[in-house]
Symmetry: none
Subunit: 410 residues, 2 copies
């Protein structure tokens, strides 16, 4: 299963009205299309713009409407945290407050100067509160992820982030009567004091003020979410997958697949960008197939990166580079593997954002119903024999073709 | 409504790359296709391989994910049991144990010698335990279905089947704290003793041992399921069907349609196989239409039988035979009936198994939106005006065309 992050796209003027996938010279993938069948996937549901996290949960058989705990935990995973069920994660901002804790700047002037050092100091200087472990992870720009670990925590608590400037940092309050919510809110308020203690007189902030930058003297917390126990890929009903592997260099995807029970490989040279060593990734995937893994997920991030950067040509080239690398090895598996090529969501390289446009899907399996469309693109996929399915249908479709699914009933 | 069991198929090399439905000479059905509209059905959901039971529940308006109690009750129905809500049914194996109840062979050497007699003796020799009626039904090969009837039973109990050889027959244990689970587990353990008592010294087993066969001296039980109260076809919301009839010769389908409130007819000469008297079945269906039934379901099993036996030519011939029989009588109903031709699921005659491939659907109703595809096959159905629907949508689609459905809302 090959997942090009943000694969789907819209027609692009610089490509003569074609999409990057449509315009790419990709002889191997198009040859697969002549032997397989296409369709389109609504990762979550039609019209809903998926994140990479909700989309990946769906294509591995879970219903994100039921299991997704909010962005906190998954942003923490994207920042490199390894979460366990029951952990609480927040989205955080480095911000600037005055001596009365009134928020002057919710983003500390958007300057990233010294923030890595501040995160280090927070991890060393806070560490633990009342026996609960606290961890800080640097995210993009002024953002970070904050994790509370331990038993009996609740995510039914209020934000400390007032959401606007000119107001005081909020006191977190429990949002229900469960004792765990009261306990967690108290913990978060102590955490805010500890954060302030570590940051207020920090050398980095002295330097920032000297440089005319706003001090990053507080962390505002919002969107508490509790990590749920997610059903592993090998626990899905009626499906026989015992060993699953994933190849990715992207923290969020590595984290999600690991949570779902995949053995995750990040090969040297894989960067999660356009400059990644695609050959190393393909080799890592093939090695897992050779070692008897039942499902191998090979994730390429470059398509999404190019789309966010509004670079349809680079997206096209990246697809061409991957096609060539896949061609060299996948031909050997045509008689013994079901091959799926798709994406987690559509990222438009014209607007630079995720969209809800359905994602093209190409499936090859010996003996399957072929639609003989012969080329693979957003346009052909809509005409394909597989039709339009949900993300969470995909693993069932593939395991049926692989004869690794029990029928539902008698 | 005409249901060809396992109708959908994949292209077959022996039919020149066509499917049996595609290759069949079926002038009546193709003529209907020139006047009606086609679509495809995912009986349960895309990618999920349906059983005949879950598929039939769906096409008669129920959600199998919500109402299906596991295979135990429906395998019992398939073996001829008539279940009431609250009854508990198990899947059972005749097996061989040593004097210490260690399982030597989970399938009693797969020999069927004398098993009918043993089932008779179990029904006579066990009959009742602590006021709960016990029934045994012979199923295919070494398998049987075991039913416990009475009030206050639970299906939250463990199997007695250890699942592997070399271990002792398990003591069934309650899986929750409900007193009914404890009671049922105790009952099942007594039942195992009673079964052993009847089988141990049975003449059939002496004969088996003399013949060098393994004795069938125990019944291993697994997959307890409690029969739910299923919503009858005439109880579906906003639908006006007062009298529904079904014509079938297949125990499972007869049982399911009866549970759903259909009057079931099994005409003489109908066998549930390729040699069935299709004319007798068509006549039985027409007779019910003439007597004012609102919905008549005519079930043909031959298509599924031929598919499981990997005989695409026989499947094609069976469709042709049915087309001819339908042609003779259905022309008279063109102005006063909605006619649907479909299947419960796809059975591939190339791999001999159910698959999740969507099932072709042809609907004819005077005045409906025609798609004028002119022929009926898996390939045309994907292009049809009805598009792709779920099994549980079908009864709504048909009752709308028949003007027997109230709008949902004002």
């Amino acid at each position: 299963m090959i997942g090009f992050d943000g694969l789907g796209d819209r027609p692009s003027a610089v490509l003569g009205g074609k999409t990057p996938l449509e315009d790419a010279k990709k002889p191997f993938i198009d040859w697969l299309a002549s032997l397989g069948a296409q369709g389109v996937i609504d990762p979550v549901s039609p019209g809903v713009i998926p994140g990479s996290d909700t989309a990946h949960l769906a294509i591995f058989g879970l219903d994100p409407f039921k299991v997704y705990p909010g962005r906190g935990p998954f942003e923490a995973i994207g920042a490199g945290a390894e979460l366990n069920p029951g952990d609480i994660a927040f989205r955080g901002n480095f911000a600037t407050v005055d001596e009365k804790f009134v928020v002057i700047d919710r983003r500390a002037g958007r300057s990233e100067y010294g923030l890595d050092k501040l995160v280090d100091s927070l991890n060393k200087g806070v560490g633990e509160i009342e026996g609960y472990k606290v961890e800080f992870y640097r995210a993009a720009e002024h953002r970070l992820a904050v994790v509370l670990r331990g038993v009996g925590l609740s995510d039914r608590i209020g934000d400390t982030d007032p959401g606007v400037e000119g107001e005081r940092v909020r006191v977190s309050a429990p949002l229900d009567n469960d004792p765990s919510s009261k306990r967690t809110a108290d913990l978060v308020n102590k955490l805010t004091e500890e954060i302030s203690r570590v940051l207020r007189e920090h050398g980095v902030n002295k330097e920032r003020v000297e440089m005319g930058l706003r001090p990053a003297n507080i962390v505002l917390l919002r969107g508490a979410g509790k990590m749920p126990r997610l059903r592993k890929i090998y626990e899905l009903e009626r499906i026989h997958i015992e060993r699953a592997g994933a190849v990715s260099a992207t923290a969020l995807i590595k984290g999600v697949t690991k949570l779902l029970g995949f053995h995750v490989v990040h090969p040297p040279g894989a960067t999660g960008g356009l400059n990644t060593d695609v050959h190393a990734k393909v080799r890592a995937a093939v090695e897992m197939l050779d070692r008897g893994y039942d499902l191998v997920y090979l994730h390429f991030k470059g398509t999404d990166t190019a789309s966010h950067d509004r670079k349809p040509r680079e997206k096209r080239s990246f697809i061409e580079k991957c096609d060539s690398a896949l061609s060299e090895v996948l031909r050997d598996f045509m008689d013994r593997a079901v091959i799926a090529i798709t994406g987690d969501h559509t990222t438009s390289s014209t607007i630079g954002q995720h969209t809800s446009d359905p994602v093209p899907l190409l499936v090859y399996s010996e003996g399957m119903f072929q639609d003989m469309l012969g080329r693979f693109s957003e346009r052909t996929a809509r005409l394909g024999a597989i039709g339009r399915i949900r993300g969470s249908d995909l693993i069932y479709l593939l395991t049926d073709l692989a004869e690794r699914q029990e029928k539902f009933g008698a």
